[in-house]
Each structure stands twice: as structure tokens, then as C-alpha cells.
């Protein structure tokens, strides 16, 4: 009789433990989804801001049409890519790089640089960029937790529960950002 009770208790403990592991996998997967949606919210702010920046910049930077066209094209491409996908990350990285070069070009137009609406737009842009960076850090952190949860036994038993989220890749900075900056280019 006693041994039956012990076995039942042991089974209950095992079930509870496995449920805990299962819950952790599900929570981690949801956390990744939350992070992706967080990035999307921040990116949406950037997409909304880009036309405003371009409208202001166009008034002063008539000779930089190619960069405007490139940014518009990349914006559309990034907006239409699937959230959390490698294509989306690649499009975002390119858009990032183009926006940075636009901001560097703004330095060559003192009238534009000192324009009140442009100053405000750039401040908002910087804030949005910081939020995007923060949301990407959250995404990477959530993805690490999910990968740990589904790759370490017994979490690996529930890997299928995490569904498609396991296929997500880490956000990494583009190669241009990793390369060293030559100060002479800006002087």
C-alpha cells in the first residue's frame, strides 16, 4: 500500500515537473513573439517617420534624389517582409545603413540641419532608433531563453510546442556597422 502511495506521489511530482518545463517552453516562445511584435511596433514608428524626414530633406537636398528613392524602396521592402524573418532583418539592415548615410549627408546642408522641423524629426528619429535597439536586445534575450528551454533536456521533448519560433535567427548588426570608422571620411 505504502509503495503504491510513494509511486503515485513520485508520478505526481514528475508530472508537475514536466508541466513546469512545458510551461517554460510555451512562456519562452510567447516571449519571443512578444519581442517580435515589440520590434514591429518600433519599426512602424520608423516607417511613419521616414516620409516626414524625406519631405523635409527634399526641400534642401535636391541633388540627393537617388538616396531618397533607395530609402523609399527599402522601406516598402521592409514593410512587406514577414516579421522576424531573415529577409526582414536584411531589409532593415539596408534601410538602417541608408538612413545613417542620409543623416550624415544632412551635416553638409547647414540650412537643413538647423531647420526646426528637421531638428525635431532627427530627435524623434534618434529616440525611435534607441527604442528599436532596445527591442532588438529584448528579442535576442528572449530567443536565447527559448533556445535554452528547447535545446536542453527535458525541454527538448517539448520543442515542437514552440512551433515555428525555434527557426528564428538572432538579430545581428550589418557588416557596415561592424567595420571601423575612418574619421577622415567625415572631416
Amino acid at each position: 500500500m505504502n509503495s503504491v502511495i510513494i509511486i503515485i506521489i513520485a508520478l505526481l511530482v514528475l508530472i508537475l515537473y514536466l508541466y513546469g518545463v512545458y510551461a517554460k517552453v510555451i512562456m519562452s516562445a510567447n516571449s519571443v513573439r512578444e519581442a517580435i511584435s515589440g520590434i514591429d511596433i518600433q519599426l512602424k514608428k520608423r516607417y511613419d517617420l521616414i516620409p516626414n524626414i524625406l519631405t523635409i530633406a527634399k526641400k534642401f537636398m535636391e541633388h540627393e534624389k537617388s538616396i531618397f528613392e533607395k530609402i523609399t524602396e527599402l522601406r516598402t521592402k521592409a514593410m512587406n517582409s514577414m516579421p522576424g524573418s531573415a529577409q526582414k532583418f536584411a531589409a532593415e539592415a539596408q534601410l538602417d545603413s541608408q538612413l545613417k548615410s542620409l543623416m550624415v549627408n544632412v551635416e553638409n546642408y547647414p540650412a537643413l540641419k538647423s531647420d526646426a522641423t528637421m531638428v525635431q524629426a532627427m530627435e524623434t528619429y534618434n529616440e525611435v532608433e534607441e527604442h528599436i535597439a532596445a527591442s532588438r536586445r529584448f528579442y535576442n534575450s528572449a530567443l536565447t531563453q527559448l533556445r535554452n528551454a528547447i535545446q536542453i533536456f527535458p525541454g527538448s521533448l517539448f520543442a515542437a510546442c514552440a512551433g515555428e519560433t525555434a527557426s528564428y535567427s538572432y538579430y545581428e548588426t550589418d557588416t557596415a556597422s561592424k567595420s571601423s570608422i575612418k574619421a577622415s571620411d567625415y572631416l
Binding site: G38, Q42, E130, A134, R137, F138, N140
Partner: protein
């Protein structure tokens, strides 16, 4: 004077501070010295009367010289204890009066700092997520001022949580030390909070926990927030590095911090009595005033070390 703690620190050890004390405080020091002597006499008298009453009544009763009734014995002992307690009240009264006489002037040496008499900030403190629940609130000193264009509010607080009564009374110190409030230079969602606490091995609270990528930082601090993205927006990699440096210097281990209501709150735990002028030291002793200035510099150093005066610093 330039608003930088390094300049203040340099001047406080130079002749400039001595001249300031002579020029600005001299007229007040005689008054303070008289107050001090009167308070010391009061304290000594209270202690002598109190001790004499207690020792006397015990001696008379136990030696059999006179049989003291139980009621008279209790009343005498109570009066004795009351006298000794009065000595402490006199000491505290000196502390308050010394602050009234000297501190305001002394604060002008640091810059735009003033004593803030409004200590009715219990509700505001109770709303903060930074501290655990408390039901006893004491605000000893409150200073308001401006440092590097930041409006600072510095308060010495003692927060406790008391449960039960009589023998079952249990008192827990929630916080004892200095709370600094300064505006947040970054646009932070006003309805969100992020709390940085000292790392604890026995902390199993996982709700709203923010796991950050800086392993060194995670060794010293635990972070909680109701918005994972806003928390990371505030805690940039460079800010975490600065917090880690602070912890390595031994200062950060006593610090709790929160970003909420559009402000930054820094709580420095310390049981010592801040900004106090000791009663058993001559009123004209410059070292006492220097110690107060240095205490305020210690607090300003934290703001500088974390670059909280700059948006980019965060």
C-alpha cells in the same frame, strides 16, 4: 562657482572654504555655540537627574533605609527614564537648531541648494515601486537644489513596516538612508517602471524580471520592469557598464534605483545620520562643516558617475 563636484571638493579642502566659513558663518557660530553649551548642560542635567533617581530609589529600597511603596518606586524609575530620554530629545533639538542656523548658509557653498521644510512626501514615496510596502514614515531632512541644471530633491528617510502589537509586534526596516530624486533626461513612458536592485542569490522573484546581456552587471544587480523594451531603452550597454563600475568601487552595492513617473530615484542605504552637526564638538570646528559638504559631494558623485545629467549618458 562651477557646478561640478570636483570643483566643490577641491574648494572644500582649500583656504576658500575656511574663508567662506569665517565670512558667512562667523556671525552665526557664536549663537550656535551658546545654543550648544545650553543643550549640553541640559543633557548632562537630565542624565544626572535620571541616573540619580533610578540609582537612588533602588539603593534606598534594597538597602532597607526606607521602604518605598511599589507605586512610588515605579513613578520614580519612570521619571528617571524620562529624564534620560529627555537628554536624547535635547540632542535632537540641538541638531535641528544647528541645521536651521548653519546648514542653509553652508548649502550656499555647494551651489543652488536649500533646506526644504515640506516633509509631507509620504504619499509620493508610498506610490513608488522602488520600496516595499511600509506603514511608518520618517523624513529627517530634505534638501532641494540644482546640480548641472538638474533639479535635485534629497531626502533622508526611514521607512518601516510594523505588524502586530505588544509582544507580537514585528518591525522591519524597509529603507534607511538617502533618496535622491532627479528628472529623467530621456523620454520614458510615465506609466512604466524599471527598478535596479542589488543582486541577491536568494531572490527567486521572476515576475517582471529583465534578463540583461551584461553578465558583469547581472552579478551585481537584479532588474525588474513592467516593460521589457523601455527597461532596455533606459539600461543601455554603456549605462550598465557605469553601474558595474560603481558596484566595483563598493558604492553601487548600497544603491537601489528606479525610473518611474518621469523621474530617476536613487536610494542610498545607510544607517548613519546625514548632515548632522555633532553636539560634543565646538560649533566653530570647520571639520564638521566640511564633513557635511563632503556628504553631499558623495551623493553628487553618483549622479556624475552615471552621467545622469546627460541624455546621452543613459
Amino acid at each position: 562657482m562651477a557646478q561640478d563636484y570636483r570643483n566643490i571638493q577641491k574648494s572644500v579642502f582649500s583656504a576658500e572654504f575656511k574663508n567662506f566659513c569665517r565670512k558667512e558663518l562667523c556671525s552665526k557660530l557664536n549663537k550656535l555655540e551658546n545654543v550648544r553649551i545650553l543643550h549640553i548642560i541640559g543633557m548632562i542635567l537630565c542624565c544626572i537627574i535620571g541616573s540619580a533617581l533610578i540609582i537612588g530609589v533602588i539603593y534606598v529600597d534594597f538597602s532597607g533605609i526606607y521602604k518605598v511603596s511599589e507605586g512610588l518606586f515605579k513613578i520614580t524609575v519612570l521619571i528617571g527614564i524620562g529624564s534620560i530620554v529627555s537628554a536624547e530629545i535635547i540632542r535632537k533639538d540641538y541638531k535641528t537648531r544647528a541645521k536651521d542656523i548653519i546648514l542653509e548658509k553652508l548649502l550656499s557653498f555647494i551651489g543652488d541648494f536649500k533646506i526644504n521644510d515640506d516633509k509631507n512626501i509620504e504619499n509620493h514615496i508610498a506610490e513608488l515601486k522602488l520600496f516595499d510596502k511600509f506603514n511608518r514614515f520618517y523624513c529627517d531632512d530634505r534638501l532641494s537644489g540644482n546640480y548641472k541644471l538638474l533639479n535635485l530633491d534629497i531626502a533622508q528617510l526611514d521607512l518601516r513596516y510594523v505588524t502586530g502589537s505588544g509582544k507580537n509586534r514585528h518591525e522591519k526596516i524597509v529603507f534607511q538612508g538617502i533618496l535622491i530624486k532627479l528628472p529623467n533626461m530621456k523620454k520614458y513612458k510615465s506609466n512604466c517602471y524599471t527598478i535596479i536592485r542589488q543582486h541577491s542569490l536568494f531572490n527567486f522573484e521572476n515576475r517582471n524580471r529583465v534578463h540583461l546581456e551584461d553578465i558583469e552587471f547581472e552579478k551585481y544587480y537584479d532588474v525588474y520592469s513592467d516593460d521589457q523594451i523601455e527597461a532596455r531603452y533606459m539600461l543601455t550597454t554603456s549605462f550598465m557598464e557605469r553601474m558595474t563600475q560603481l558596484a566595483k568601487k563598493g558604492i553601487g552595492q548600497n544603491i537601489k534605483m528606479s525610473f518611474e513617473n518621469g523621474n530617476i530615484y536613487i536610494a542610498v542605504s545607510s544607517a548613519k545620520d546625514w548632515f548632522e552637526i555633532p553636539i560634543f564638538s565646538p560649533a566653530s570646528k570647520i571639520e564638521n562643516f566640511r564633513a557635511i559638504v563632503l556628504e553631499i559631494i558623495t551623493l553628487l558623485k553618483i549622479i556624475d558617475a552615471l552621467n545622469l545629467d546627460r541624455k546621452i549618458g543613459l
